[in-house]
Symmetry: C2
Subunit: 172 residues, 2 copies
């Protein structure tokens, strides 16, 4: 990851990454399918945490409240990794292929969220809408949180995005 930041994603080879990490290329490929995976490690675990937290939200919680609980849980995991997240954002912003991958990851999260809301008894289209909206809230809070100079908590920015969403929809 530091290598991507130093040399650019395209100019970094797997053998350089392996060398820096003190492992063989073979070991690298036991952990990652390709070098893109280095930037998306943990995405599966985050999705899992998001989905189980939403599934376990107290029964009376509405769909957006349940999603807010899930986002809170992952915000806590992110919070310690702000510098990492800023570096990662810059690397992804510089590479269209990585941007696509990031979009796909978030689209998958939205699909998983909609599915867990349906299991909670939320009908469609409310389930799909709440899921997509929740991911939009997350993305925008994430961008603010990784803006240079922003030192506010991720969880706080997520809450603020939810409040903003309510204000925007209520004004219509």
């Amino acid at each position: 990851m530091a290598l991507f930041a130093e040399r650019g994603f395209e100019n970094t080879t797997v053998s350089e990454i392996a060398e820096r990490a003190g492992v063989t290329e073979r070991t690298f490929f036991r952990h990652f399918a390709d070098k893109r995976e280095v930037l998306f490690e943990g995405a599966g675990a985050l999705e899992e945490l998001l989905v189980t937290t939403v599934a376990d939200a107290p029964d009376p919680a509405g769909p957006l409240d349940a999603i807010a609980a899930g986002l809170d849980a992952i915000a806590e995991m992110f919070q310690e990794r702000r510098d990492f997240s800023r570096q990662r954002r810059a690397i992804i912003a510089a590479n269209p292929e990585l941007q696509e991958r990031e979009l796909i990851k978030l689209a998958n999260w939205a699909v998983a969220l909609a599915e867990v809301l349906r299991r909670r008894g939320v009908p469609d289209p409310a389930a799909a809408l709440a899921a997509e909206t929740g991911i939009a809230v997350f993305r925008i809070a994430w961008e603010r949180w990784t803006d240079e100079g922003n030192d506010r908590d991720f969880a706080e920015l997520i809450q603020e995005s939810f409040a903003e969403l309510k204000a925007v929809t209520a004004a219509t």
Copy 2:
């Protein structure tokens, strides 16, 4: 497009498309960079119509109302092309590369929408949130509209999605 539906996107060559259309391959490539473009023709014009309609929405319209006006304008263009849209959806659903392209297209629309809202004086994060939310509303209405057996108007489904969004956010 009919060829994609008959043979699958992967199994259709540019020379077959050109032959069916009664043009040379050279003429094909004057119009399209590659065969994917056949499915994304008109996306630029739709984005343009969306953005200008939002820009020209009456002054007091809030961000989501302005976006709703833009989506109404493009819904009218879609309405006549329901069978085409259903075929296109099936082709895209069968091919991950096309799904990525579709995600990127919608992400670009969201970026363009946020930009035009900022020019209308909407501050961030409200501009970005309204834009992403508007695209979520559009996607979900589009999926319902292209569901087999659904014969309701696209514009009506968009309105319903907006109403659903308000209900979901108000309930929180």
